[in-house]
Protein backbone atom coordinates (compact mmCIF):
# COMPACT_ATOMS: atom_id res chain seq x y z
CA UNK A 1 0.00 0.00 0.00
CA UNK A 2 1.77 3.12 -1.15
CA UNK A 3 0.03 6.29 -0.18
CA UNK A 4 1.21 9.58 -1.53
CA UNK A 5 0.76 12.51 0.88
CA UNK A 6 0.91 14.93 -2.01
CA UNK A 7 -2.06 13.30 -3.64
CA UNK A 8 -4.34 11.68 -1.08
CA UNK A 9 -7.45 10.07 -2.42
CA UNK A 10 -10.58 9.36 -0.45
CA UNK A 11 -11.97 5.92 -1.18
CA UNK A 12 -15.11 4.12 -0.11
CA UNK A 13 -13.28 1.85 2.25
CA UNK A 14 -13.23 3.83 5.48
CA UNK A 15 -10.79 1.43 7.14
CA UNK A 16 -8.36 1.84 4.29
CA UNK A 17 -8.74 5.62 4.41
CA UNK A 18 -8.02 5.68 8.11
CA UNK A 19 -5.11 3.34 7.54
CA UNK A 20 -3.70 5.78 5.04
CA UNK A 21 -4.12 8.65 7.53
CA UNK A 22 -2.09 7.08 10.29
CA UNK A 23 0.70 6.00 7.99
CA UNK A 24 2.20 9.47 8.22
CA UNK A 25 3.93 10.75 11.27
CA UNK A 26 2.70 14.32 10.81
CA UNK A 27 -0.84 13.01 10.63
CA UNK A 28 -0.45 10.93 13.79
CA UNK A 29 0.92 14.01 15.54
CA UNK A 30 -1.98 16.08 14.27
CA UNK A 31 -4.54 13.54 15.51
CA UNK A 32 -2.80 13.24 18.88
CA UNK A 33 -2.42 16.98 19.38
CA UNK A 34 -6.00 17.46 18.17
CA UNK A 35 -7.36 15.00 20.71
CA UNK A 36 -5.33 16.50 23.55
CA UNK A 37 -6.46 20.02 22.73
CA UNK A 38 -10.05 18.93 22.13
CA UNK A 39 -10.31 17.35 25.58
CA UNK A 40 -8.73 20.36 27.26
CA UNK A 41 -10.77 23.01 25.51
CA UNK A 42 -13.97 21.00 25.86
CA UNK A 43 -13.57 20.81 29.63
CA UNK A 44 -12.51 24.44 30.00
CA UNK A 45 -15.22 25.56 27.56
CA UNK A 46 -17.87 23.72 29.57
CA UNK A 47 -17.04 25.83 32.61
CA UNK A 48 -16.73 28.96 30.46
CA UNK A 49 -20.27 28.51 29.12
CA UNK A 50 -21.60 27.94 32.62
CA UNK A 51 -19.82 31.07 33.84
CA UNK A 52 -21.10 33.12 30.87
CA UNK A 53 -17.56 34.18 30.10
CA UNK A 54 -17.66 33.53 26.38
CA UNK A 55 -16.80 37.16 25.73
CA UNK A 56 -13.66 36.89 27.82
CA UNK A 57 -12.83 33.67 25.95
CA UNK A 58 -13.35 35.42 22.65
CA UNK A 59 -11.05 38.26 23.66
CA UNK A 60 -8.36 35.80 24.70
CA UNK A 61 -8.59 34.11 21.32
CA UNK A 62 -8.09 37.53 19.74
CA UNK A 63 -4.93 37.82 21.87
CA UNK A 64 -3.57 34.77 20.10
CA UNK A 65 -3.26 36.69 16.85
CA UNK A 66 -0.91 39.47 18.05
CA UNK A 67 0.87 36.75 20.03
CA UNK A 68 1.54 34.71 16.92
CA UNK A 69 2.55 37.68 14.81
CA UNK A 70 4.82 39.06 17.53
CA UNK A 71 6.54 35.69 17.86
CA UNK A 72 7.01 35.46 14.08
CA UNK A 73 8.40 38.98 14.04
CA UNK A 74 10.85 38.09 16.78
CA UNK A 75 11.81 34.87 15.03
CA UNK A 76 10.45 32.70 17.85
CA UNK A 77 8.17 29.67 17.63
CA UNK A 78 4.57 30.75 17.12
CA UNK A 79 3.42 28.63 20.06
CA UNK A 80 5.45 30.80 22.44
CA UNK A 81 3.58 33.84 21.21
CA UNK A 82 0.24 32.11 21.78
CA UNK A 83 1.05 31.12 25.34
CA UNK A 84 2.71 34.42 26.29
CA UNK A 85 -0.04 36.65 24.93
CA UNK A 86 -3.02 34.56 26.01
CA UNK A 87 -1.53 34.14 29.47
CA UNK A 88 -0.87 37.87 29.83
CA UNK A 89 -4.32 38.65 28.42
CA UNK A 90 -5.95 36.38 31.00
CA UNK A 91 -4.18 38.14 33.84
CA UNK A 92 -5.18 41.56 32.51
CA UNK A 93 -8.82 40.54 32.14
CA UNK A 94 -8.65 39.08 35.64
CA UNK A 95 -7.53 42.50 36.86
CA UNK A 96 -10.27 44.31 34.94
CA UNK A 97 -12.96 42.09 36.40
CA UNK A 98 -11.48 42.55 39.84
CA UNK A 99 -13.48 45.51 41.10
CA UNK A 100 -15.70 44.80 44.09
CA UNK A 101 -19.03 45.62 42.51
CA UNK A 102 -18.54 44.05 39.13
CA UNK A 103 -21.32 44.58 36.67
CA UNK A 104 -21.54 42.58 33.53
CA UNK A 105 -21.82 45.56 31.17
CA UNK A 106 -18.86 47.26 32.82
CA UNK A 107 -16.78 44.14 32.44
CA UNK A 108 -17.70 43.57 28.81
CA UNK A 109 -17.01 47.21 27.95
CA UNK A 110 -13.46 47.09 29.27
CA UNK A 111 -12.80 43.64 27.84
CA UNK A 112 -14.07 44.83 24.45
CA UNK A 113 -11.75 47.83 24.50
CA UNK A 114 -8.88 45.55 25.35
CA UNK A 115 -9.80 43.25 22.48
CA UNK A 116 -9.67 46.10 19.95
CA UNK A 117 -6.20 47.09 21.14
CA UNK A 118 -5.03 43.48 20.87
CA UNK A 119 -6.21 43.16 17.28
CA UNK A 120 -4.62 46.46 16.36
CA UNK A 121 -1.34 45.27 17.85
CA UNK A 122 -1.57 42.10 15.78
CA UNK A 123 -1.91 44.02 12.56
CA UNK A 124 0.90 46.34 13.63
CA UNK A 125 3.21 43.36 14.07
CA UNK A 126 2.17 41.91 10.74
CA UNK A 127 2.91 45.17 8.92
CA UNK A 128 6.16 45.65 10.84
CA UNK A 129 7.20 42.34 9.39
CA UNK A 130 7.19 44.17 6.11
CA UNK A 131 4.10 42.76 4.55
CA UNK A 132 6.04 39.66 3.55
CA UNK A 133 4.51 37.49 6.23
CA UNK A 134 3.81 34.86 3.63
CA UNK A 135 2.05 32.63 6.07
CA UNK A 136 -0.69 34.91 7.39
CA UNK A 137 -3.02 32.00 6.75
CA UNK A 138 -1.31 29.81 9.29
CA UNK A 139 -1.23 32.69 11.77
CA UNK A 140 -4.97 33.04 11.51
CA UNK A 141 -6.01 29.45 10.93
CA UNK A 142 -3.28 27.43 12.60
CA UNK A 143 -0.87 24.88 11.24
CA UNK A 144 -2.02 21.59 12.64
CA UNK A 145 -0.19 19.47 10.06
CA UNK A 146 3.14 20.95 11.06
CA UNK A 147 3.08 19.88 14.70
CA UNK A 148 6.29 18.32 15.97
CA UNK A 149 6.79 15.61 18.58
CA UNK A 150 8.04 18.29 20.96
CA UNK A 151 4.88 20.34 20.50
CA UNK A 152 2.71 17.32 21.19
CA UNK A 153 4.59 16.84 24.42
CA UNK A 154 4.18 20.49 25.39
CA UNK A 155 0.46 20.40 24.60
CA UNK A 156 0.06 17.21 26.60
CA UNK A 157 1.74 18.72 29.67
CA UNK A 158 -0.25 21.96 29.44
CA UNK A 159 -3.49 20.01 29.07
CA UNK A 160 -2.63 17.69 31.96
CA UNK A 161 -1.81 20.63 34.22
CA UNK A 162 -4.98 22.53 33.28
CA UNK A 163 -7.20 19.49 33.75
CA UNK A 164 -5.58 18.79 37.11
CA UNK A 165 -6.35 22.35 38.22
CA UNK A 166 -9.96 21.99 37.04
CA UNK A 167 -10.37 18.70 38.91
CA UNK A 168 -9.05 20.17 42.15
CA UNK A 169 -11.18 23.32 41.85
CA UNK A 170 -14.22 21.52 40.47
CA UNK A 171 -16.88 22.03 43.13
CA UNK A 172 -15.94 25.49 44.44
CA UNK A 173 -15.51 26.68 40.86
CA UNK A 174 -18.96 25.40 39.94
CA UNK A 175 -20.42 26.99 43.07
CA UNK A 176 -18.72 30.33 42.45
CA UNK A 177 -19.77 30.24 38.80
CA UNK A 178 -23.50 29.76 39.24
CA UNK A 179 -23.98 31.32 42.67
CA UNK A 180 -21.13 33.70 43.59
CA UNK A 181 -22.94 35.42 46.48
CA UNK A 182 -23.75 32.25 48.38
CA UNK A 183 -20.39 30.68 47.52
CA UNK A 184 -18.62 33.76 48.87
CA UNK A 185 -20.69 33.66 52.04
CA UNK A 186 -19.65 30.05 52.53
CA UNK A 187 -15.99 31.02 52.37
CA UNK A 188 -15.28 30.04 48.76
CA UNK A 189 -12.54 32.39 47.41
CA UNK A 190 -14.64 33.63 44.50
CA UNK A 191 -12.18 36.28 43.28
CA UNK A 192 -9.14 34.03 43.33
CA UNK A 193 -11.05 31.25 41.55
CA UNK A 194 -12.05 33.67 38.82
CA UNK A 195 -8.43 34.70 38.18
CA UNK A 196 -7.21 31.09 38.20
CA UNK A 197 -9.95 30.06 35.81
CA UNK A 198 -9.11 32.90 33.41
CA UNK A 199 -5.48 31.75 33.42
CA UNK A 200 -6.59 28.20 32.56
CA UNK A 201 -8.87 29.63 29.87
CA UNK A 202 -5.89 31.54 28.44
CA UNK A 203 -3.86 28.32 28.28
CA UNK A 204 -6.73 26.47 26.60
CA UNK A 205 -7.11 29.23 24.01
CA UNK A 206 -3.36 29.24 23.31
CA UNK A 207 -3.34 25.46 22.89
CA UNK A 208 -6.44 25.44 20.71
CA UNK A 209 -5.02 28.19 18.52
CA UNK A 210 -2.35 25.78 17.40
CA UNK A 211 -4.95 23.40 16.03
CA UNK A 212 -7.65 25.68 14.63
CA UNK A 213 -5.88 29.04 14.54
CA UNK A 214 -6.95 32.00 16.70
CA UNK A 215 -9.95 32.78 14.52
CA UNK A 216 -11.64 29.41 14.93
CA UNK A 217 -10.87 28.66 18.56
CA UNK A 218 -14.54 28.75 19.46
CA UNK A 219 -15.18 25.73 17.28
CA UNK A 220 -13.55 23.65 20.02
CA UNK A 221 -13.97 25.91 23.04
CA UNK A 222 -17.61 26.90 22.78
CA UNK A 223 -19.56 24.73 20.40
CA UNK A 224 -19.11 21.30 22.03
CA UNK A 225 -20.04 22.69 25.44
CA UNK A 226 -22.95 24.73 24.14
CA UNK A 227 -24.33 21.71 22.25
CA UNK A 228 -23.96 19.38 25.21
CA UNK A 229 -25.54 21.83 27.65
CA UNK A 230 -28.45 22.20 25.27
CA UNK A 231 -28.97 18.45 25.28
CA UNK A 232 -28.87 17.89 29.03
CA UNK A 233 -28.79 19.85 32.28
CA UNK A 234 -27.21 16.93 34.16
CA UNK A 235 -23.60 17.89 34.85
CA UNK A 236 -21.84 14.55 34.38
CA UNK A 237 -23.54 13.47 31.12
CA UNK A 238 -23.21 16.97 29.75
CA UNK A 239 -19.47 17.05 30.48
CA UNK A 240 -19.04 13.61 28.92
CA UNK A 241 -20.93 14.71 25.80
CA UNK A 242 -18.78 17.83 25.57
CA UNK A 243 -15.59 15.77 25.55
CA UNK A 244 -17.06 13.36 23.03
CA UNK A 245 -18.16 16.15 20.68
CA UNK A 246 -14.81 17.91 20.95
CA UNK A 247 -12.69 14.88 20.11
CA UNK A 248 -15.15 13.63 17.47
CA UNK A 249 -15.31 16.95 15.66
CA UNK A 250 -11.53 17.37 15.74
CA UNK A 251 -10.72 13.94 14.36
CA UNK A 252 -13.42 14.16 11.73
CA UNK A 253 -12.20 17.59 10.64
CA UNK A 254 -8.56 16.48 10.53
CA UNK A 255 -9.45 13.33 8.61
CA UNK A 256 -11.47 15.18 5.98
CA UNK A 257 -8.91 17.92 5.60
CA UNK A 258 -6.25 15.34 4.84
CA UNK A 259 -8.17 14.37 1.73
CA UNK A 260 -8.88 17.95 0.71
CA UNK A 261 -7.01 21.13 -0.04
CA UNK A 262 -8.66 23.19 2.72
CA UNK A 263 -7.21 23.70 6.22
CA UNK A 264 -8.34 21.48 9.09
CA UNK A 265 -9.65 24.44 11.08
CA UNK A 266 -12.23 25.08 8.40
CA UNK A 267 -13.66 21.57 8.61
CA UNK A 268 -13.49 21.47 12.40
CA UNK A 269 -15.41 24.74 12.62
CA UNK A 270 -17.95 23.72 9.99
CA UNK A 271 -18.69 20.31 11.49
CA UNK A 272 -18.84 21.79 14.97
CA UNK A 273 -21.24 24.48 13.81
CA UNK A 274 -23.40 21.97 11.95
CA UNK A 275 -23.58 19.84 15.09
CA UNK A 276 -24.64 22.82 17.16
CA UNK A 277 -27.34 23.81 14.67
CA UNK A 278 -28.65 20.24 14.62
CA UNK A 279 -28.78 20.10 18.42
CA UNK A 280 -30.57 23.46 18.69
CA UNK A 281 -33.06 22.46 16.01
CA UNK A 282 -33.67 19.16 17.78
CA UNK A 283 -34.16 20.93 21.09
CA UNK A 284 -36.60 23.39 19.53
CA UNK A 285 -38.58 20.55 17.98
CA UNK A 286 -38.68 18.57 21.22
CA UNK A 287 -39.51 21.72 23.16
CA UNK A 288 -42.53 22.36 20.97
CA UNK A 289 -43.71 18.80 21.40
CA UNK A 290 -43.08 18.80 25.15
CA UNK A 291 -44.84 22.11 25.72
CA UNK A 292 -47.77 21.56 28.00
CA UNK A 293 -50.17 23.77 29.87
CA UNK A 294 -48.36 25.27 32.83
CA UNK A 295 -49.39 23.45 35.98
CA UNK A 296 -49.82 25.74 38.94
CA UNK A 297 -47.21 25.54 41.65
CA UNK A 298 -48.22 23.30 44.53
CA UNK A 299 -49.18 25.47 47.47
CA UNK A 300 -49.11 23.83 50.83
CA UNK A 301 -50.12 25.25 54.13
CA UNK A 302 -51.79 28.38 52.82
CA UNK A 303 -52.77 30.71 55.60
CA UNK A 304 -55.82 32.72 54.80
Amino acid sequence: MSADPANPRLGWNVLRDVGELVEYHFMVNALLAGAIVAVMSAAVGWVMVLRRQTFAGHTLSMMAFPGASAATLAGLPVAWGYFAFCGAGALIIGRVGGSERRTWSEESASIGTFQAVALAAGFLFVSLYGGVLGDLDSLLFGDVLGISDGQVLVLASVAAASLAVLVVLARPLLFASVDPDVAGARGVPVRALSVVFLAVLGLAVAATSQITGPLLVFALLLMPAASAQTITARPIPSLALTLLFGVGVTWLGLGISYFSVYPAGFFIATISFAGYVLVRAGAALLGVRRARPADPMPVDGVIA
Binding site: V182, A233, S238, V299
Partner: protein
Amino acid sequence: MAATEHERRSGPALELDGAAVRLGGRTVWSDVSMRVGPGEFVALLGANGSGKSTLLKVALGTLALSAGRASVLGRAPGEASRSIGYLPQRRAFDAGTRLRGRDIVRLGLDGDRWGLPVRAPWGRGAARGRAAALRVEAAIAMVGADGYAERSIGECSGGEQQRLLIAQALVGRPELFLLDEPLDSLDLPNQAAVAALVAELCRSTGVAVLLVAHDVNPLLPYLDRVVYLARGRAVEGPVEQVITSETLTALYGLPVEVLKASDGRLVVVGQPEPPAHHHDRHDHSHAHVG
Protein backbone atom coordinates in the same frame (compact mmCIF):
# COMPACT_ATOMS: atom_id res chain seq x y z
CA MET B 1 -17.89 15.92 57.83
CA ALA B 2 -20.09 18.21 59.87
CA ALA B 3 -21.67 16.61 62.89
CA THR B 4 -24.68 14.70 61.68
CA GLU B 5 -26.56 15.10 64.94
CA HIS B 6 -26.65 18.83 65.45
CA GLU B 7 -26.26 20.08 68.94
CA ARG B 8 -27.96 23.39 69.35
CA ARG B 9 -25.96 25.89 71.34
CA SER B 10 -27.68 27.82 74.06
CA GLY B 11 -26.04 31.19 73.35
CA PRO B 12 -27.49 33.62 70.83
CA ALA B 13 -27.24 32.73 67.14
CA LEU B 14 -26.53 36.34 66.24
CA GLU B 15 -25.73 39.27 68.45
CA LEU B 16 -24.85 42.88 67.59
CA ASP B 17 -23.73 45.25 70.29
CA GLY B 18 -23.44 49.00 69.61
CA ALA B 19 -22.66 48.12 66.01
CA ALA B 20 -22.15 50.61 63.19
CA VAL B 21 -21.34 50.27 59.48
CA ARG B 22 -19.85 52.83 57.11
CA LEU B 23 -20.17 52.35 53.36
CA GLY B 24 -18.79 54.75 50.79
CA GLY B 25 -18.03 57.34 53.47
CA ARG B 26 -21.58 57.28 54.86
CA THR B 27 -22.81 55.68 58.04
CA VAL B 28 -25.55 53.24 57.04
CA TRP B 29 -26.58 52.59 60.63
CA SER B 30 -25.00 53.00 64.03
CA ASP B 31 -25.53 52.05 67.65
CA VAL B 32 -27.47 48.95 66.64
CA SER B 33 -27.86 46.29 69.30
CA MET B 34 -29.93 43.24 68.55
CA ARG B 35 -29.94 39.50 68.99
CA VAL B 36 -31.45 36.40 67.51
CA GLY B 37 -31.70 33.67 70.09
CA PRO B 38 -31.34 29.96 69.31
CA GLY B 39 -34.38 28.68 67.43
CA GLU B 40 -35.94 32.14 67.26
CA PHE B 41 -37.76 33.53 64.23
CA VAL B 42 -36.94 37.23 63.84
CA ALA B 43 -37.95 39.53 61.00
CA LEU B 44 -35.74 42.40 59.86
CA LEU B 45 -37.88 45.25 58.55
CA GLY B 46 -37.22 48.68 57.11
CA ALA B 47 -37.56 50.83 54.03
CA ASN B 48 -35.42 50.42 50.89
CA GLY B 49 -31.86 51.42 51.61
CA SER B 50 -32.23 51.29 55.38
CA GLY B 51 -29.40 48.76 55.59
CA LYS B 52 -31.11 45.39 55.99
CA SER B 53 -28.94 43.54 53.47
CA THR B 54 -25.95 45.31 54.96
CA LEU B 55 -26.79 43.81 58.36
CA LEU B 56 -26.91 40.33 56.85
CA LYS B 57 -23.51 40.89 55.21
CA VAL B 58 -22.09 41.88 58.58
CA ALA B 59 -23.44 38.64 60.04
CA LEU B 60 -21.86 36.69 57.17
CA GLY B 61 -18.53 38.35 57.80
CA THR B 62 -18.27 39.78 54.28
CA LEU B 63 -18.57 43.32 55.64
CA ALA B 64 -16.70 44.69 58.66
CA LEU B 65 -18.20 46.84 61.40
CA SER B 66 -16.83 50.34 61.85
CA ALA B 67 -17.75 50.28 65.51
CA GLY B 68 -19.22 47.89 68.05
CA ARG B 69 -19.17 44.14 68.23
CA ALA B 70 -20.79 41.26 66.37
CA SER B 71 -20.85 37.59 67.20
CA VAL B 72 -22.35 34.78 65.16
CA LEU B 73 -23.00 31.41 66.76
CA GLY B 74 -20.58 32.38 69.50
CA ARG B 75 -17.78 33.14 67.07
CA ALA B 76 -16.54 36.11 65.07
CA PRO B 77 -18.52 36.76 61.87
CA GLY B 78 -17.13 34.74 58.96
CA GLU B 79 -15.84 31.94 61.18
CA ALA B 80 -19.12 30.08 61.26
CA SER B 81 -19.91 30.23 57.55
CA ARG B 82 -20.57 26.49 57.25
CA SER B 83 -23.28 26.74 59.90
CA ILE B 84 -25.16 29.51 58.12
CA GLY B 85 -27.79 29.09 55.44
CA TYR B 86 -27.80 32.23 53.34
CA LEU B 87 -30.32 33.35 50.74
CA PRO B 88 -29.23 36.57 49.03
CA GLN B 89 -31.65 39.20 47.80
CA ARG B 90 -33.40 38.91 44.42
CA ARG B 91 -31.40 36.26 42.70
CA ALA B 92 -32.89 34.92 39.52
CA PHE B 93 -30.91 32.44 37.49
CA ASP B 94 -30.35 33.23 33.86
CA ALA B 95 -32.75 31.27 31.68
CA GLY B 96 -29.74 29.65 30.00
CA THR B 97 -28.21 28.26 33.19
CA ARG B 98 -28.04 24.56 32.41
CA LEU B 99 -27.92 22.92 35.79
CA ARG B 100 -30.77 21.13 37.49
CA GLY B 101 -32.42 22.44 40.59
CA ARG B 102 -31.08 19.34 42.32
CA ASP B 103 -27.49 20.32 41.44
CA ILE B 104 -28.03 23.81 42.83
CA VAL B 105 -29.32 22.32 46.09
CA ARG B 106 -26.36 19.94 46.20
CA LEU B 107 -23.93 22.87 46.03
CA GLY B 108 -25.31 23.99 49.38
CA LEU B 109 -24.19 20.68 50.89
CA ASP B 110 -20.60 20.34 49.68
CA GLY B 111 -20.05 22.99 47.02
CA ASP B 112 -17.28 24.58 49.05
CA ARG B 113 -15.18 21.42 49.20
CA TRP B 114 -12.27 20.88 46.84
CA GLY B 115 -12.20 18.22 44.18
CA LEU B 116 -14.75 16.39 42.08
CA PRO B 117 -17.84 15.00 43.79
CA VAL B 118 -16.97 11.48 42.67
CA ARG B 119 -16.72 8.73 45.21
CA ALA B 120 -15.68 5.13 45.01
CA PRO B 121 -18.78 3.09 44.13
CA TRP B 122 -18.09 0.71 47.01
CA GLY B 123 -17.56 0.71 50.78
CA ARG B 124 -17.51 3.91 52.84
CA GLY B 125 -17.34 6.17 49.79
CA ALA B 126 -20.53 4.73 48.38
CA ALA B 127 -22.30 4.99 51.73
CA ARG B 128 -21.33 8.66 52.06
CA GLY B 129 -22.42 9.35 48.49
CA ARG B 130 -25.80 7.79 49.22
CA ALA B 131 -26.12 9.75 52.47
CA ALA B 132 -25.39 13.00 50.63
CA ALA B 133 -27.93 12.18 47.93
CA LEU B 134 -30.53 11.37 50.60
CA ARG B 135 -29.96 14.70 52.33
CA VAL B 136 -30.43 16.54 49.05
CA GLU B 137 -33.64 14.54 48.48
CA ALA B 138 -34.88 15.35 51.97
CA ALA B 139 -34.21 19.07 51.55
CA ILE B 140 -36.03 19.11 48.23
CA ALA B 141 -38.96 17.27 49.75
CA MET B 142 -39.09 19.67 52.71
CA VAL B 143 -39.65 22.67 50.47
CA GLY B 144 -42.02 20.73 48.25
CA ALA B 145 -39.85 21.08 45.15
CA ASP B 146 -39.93 17.42 44.05
CA GLY B 147 -41.96 18.34 41.00
CA TYR B 148 -39.30 20.48 39.39
CA ALA B 149 -35.95 19.54 40.97
CA GLU B 150 -35.01 17.65 37.81
CA ARG B 151 -35.68 20.64 35.59
CA SER B 152 -33.01 23.10 34.52
CA ILE B 153 -32.94 25.87 37.14
CA GLY B 154 -33.20 28.60 34.50
CA GLU B 155 -36.54 27.16 33.38
CA CYS B 156 -38.08 27.24 36.86
CA SER B 157 -40.36 30.11 37.82
CA GLY B 158 -39.24 32.72 40.33
CA GLY B 159 -41.19 31.03 43.12
CA GLU B 160 -39.85 27.60 42.21
CA GLN B 161 -36.30 28.95 42.18
CA GLN B 162 -36.93 30.55 45.57
CA ARG B 163 -37.99 27.21 47.05
CA LEU B 164 -34.97 25.43 45.56
CA LEU B 165 -32.72 28.13 46.98
CA ILE B 166 -34.27 27.69 50.41
CA ALA B 167 -33.56 23.99 50.03
CA GLN B 168 -29.97 24.89 49.14
CA ALA B 169 -29.73 27.04 52.28
CA LEU B 170 -31.13 24.32 54.54
CA VAL B 171 -29.42 21.23 53.12
CA GLY B 172 -26.24 21.94 55.10
CA ARG B 173 -28.29 21.79 58.35
CA PRO B 174 -27.42 25.34 59.37
CA GLU B 175 -27.88 26.74 62.86
CA LEU B 176 -28.73 30.17 61.49
CA PHE B 177 -30.77 31.15 58.47
CA LEU B 178 -30.09 34.57 56.95
CA LEU B 179 -32.84 35.06 54.38
CA ASP B 180 -32.86 38.29 52.38
CA GLU B 181 -36.40 38.96 51.13
CA PRO B 182 -37.36 35.35 50.41
CA LEU B 183 -40.98 36.45 49.90
CA ASP B 184 -40.00 38.88 47.19
CA SER B 185 -41.51 38.14 43.74
CA LEU B 186 -43.94 35.60 45.16
CA ASP B 187 -47.71 35.85 44.86
CA LEU B 188 -49.76 36.09 48.04
CA PRO B 189 -50.54 32.37 48.49
CA ASN B 190 -46.88 31.57 47.92
CA GLN B 191 -45.75 34.26 50.34
CA ALA B 192 -47.92 32.62 52.95
CA ALA B 193 -46.67 29.17 51.99
CA VAL B 194 -42.98 30.09 52.13
CA ALA B 195 -43.47 31.92 55.44
CA ALA B 196 -45.15 28.80 56.82
CA LEU B 197 -42.35 26.66 55.45
CA VAL B 198 -39.63 28.73 57.13
CA ALA B 199 -41.57 28.73 60.40
CA GLU B 200 -41.93 24.96 60.17
CA LEU B 201 -38.19 24.52 59.54
CA CYS B 202 -37.50 26.81 62.47
CA ARG B 203 -39.74 24.74 64.72
CA SER B 204 -38.72 21.25 63.55
CA THR B 205 -34.95 21.71 63.13
CA GLY B 206 -34.37 24.41 65.73
CA VAL B 207 -32.62 26.70 63.26
CA ALA B 208 -32.59 30.40 64.21
CA VAL B 209 -34.02 32.63 61.49
CA LEU B 210 -33.36 36.25 60.59
CA LEU B 211 -35.64 37.04 57.66
CA VAL B 212 -35.64 40.34 55.77
CA ALA B 213 -39.06 41.45 54.59
CA HIS B 214 -40.90 44.52 53.42
CA ASP B 215 -44.31 43.32 54.51
CA VAL B 216 -44.62 41.84 57.97
CA ASN B 217 -48.13 40.50 57.45
CA PRO B 218 -47.36 37.08 55.94
CA LEU B 219 -45.01 36.50 58.91
CA LEU B 220 -47.28 37.71 61.71
CA PRO B 221 -48.44 34.28 62.94
CA TYR B 222 -44.88 33.01 63.39
CA LEU B 223 -42.62 35.83 64.53
CA ASP B 224 -40.90 35.86 67.91
CA ARG B 225 -39.59 39.40 67.45
CA VAL B 226 -38.86 42.04 64.83
CA VAL B 227 -35.94 44.39 64.26
CA TYR B 228 -36.95 47.62 62.56
CA LEU B 229 -34.28 49.72 60.81
CA ALA B 230 -34.89 53.37 59.96
CA ARG B 231 -32.86 56.55 59.82
CA GLY B 232 -29.68 54.73 60.76
CA ARG B 233 -31.13 53.34 63.98
CA ALA B 234 -32.83 50.12 65.00
CA VAL B 235 -35.57 49.17 67.41
CA GLU B 236 -36.09 45.60 68.45
CA GLY B 237 -38.92 43.85 70.21
CA PRO B 238 -42.13 41.87 69.84
CA VAL B 239 -44.35 42.85 66.89
CA GLU B 240 -47.02 44.37 69.07
CA GLN B 241 -44.46 46.66 70.71
CA VAL B 242 -42.46 47.70 67.65
CA ILE B 243 -45.05 48.05 64.94
CA THR B 244 -47.08 50.67 66.72
CA SER B 245 -47.80 54.30 65.90
CA GLU B 246 -45.71 55.51 68.87
CA THR B 247 -42.58 53.45 68.22
CA LEU B 248 -42.47 54.04 64.48
CA THR B 249 -43.19 57.75 64.87
CA ALA B 250 -40.31 58.03 67.30
CA LEU B 251 -38.07 55.98 65.04
CA TYR B 252 -38.82 57.88 61.85
CA GLY B 253 -39.13 61.24 63.54
CA LEU B 254 -42.32 62.06 61.69
CA PRO B 255 -45.92 61.00 62.13
CA VAL B 256 -46.46 57.35 61.24
CA GLU B 257 -49.71 55.59 61.90
CA VAL B 258 -50.21 51.86 62.28
CA LEU B 259 -53.69 50.62 61.52
CA LYS B 260 -54.96 47.17 62.40
CA ALA B 261 -57.38 45.63 59.94
CA SER B 262 -60.18 43.42 61.20
CA ASP B 263 -58.32 40.30 60.02
CA GLY B 264 -55.28 41.24 62.11
CA ARG B 265 -53.22 42.62 59.22
CA LEU B 266 -51.08 45.66 59.99
CA VAL B 267 -51.02 48.66 57.69
CA VAL B 268 -48.36 51.31 58.16
CA VAL B 269 -49.44 54.74 56.95
CA GLY B 270 -47.09 57.66 56.37
CA GLN B 271 -43.96 55.55 56.40
CA PRO B 272 -41.34 57.32 54.27
CA GLU B 273 -40.36 54.99 51.44
CA PRO B 274 -37.77 56.48 49.08
CA PRO B 275 -34.38 56.43 50.81
CA ALA B 276 -32.58 58.87 48.50
CA HIS B 277 -33.34 62.07 50.42
CA HIS B 278 -32.80 60.58 53.77
CA HIS B 279 -31.22 63.62 55.34
CA ASP B 280 -33.49 66.20 53.73
CA ARG B 281 -36.45 64.42 55.12
CA HIS B 282 -34.79 64.29 58.47
CA ASP B 283 -34.59 68.09 58.51
CA HIS B 284 -38.10 68.46 57.17
CA SER B 285 -39.53 66.22 59.80
CA HIS B 286 -37.88 68.28 62.45
CA ALA B 287 -39.47 71.37 61.00
CA HIS B 288 -42.82 69.59 61.05
CA VAL B 289 -42.62 67.95 64.40
CA GLY B 290 -40.60 70.56 66.22
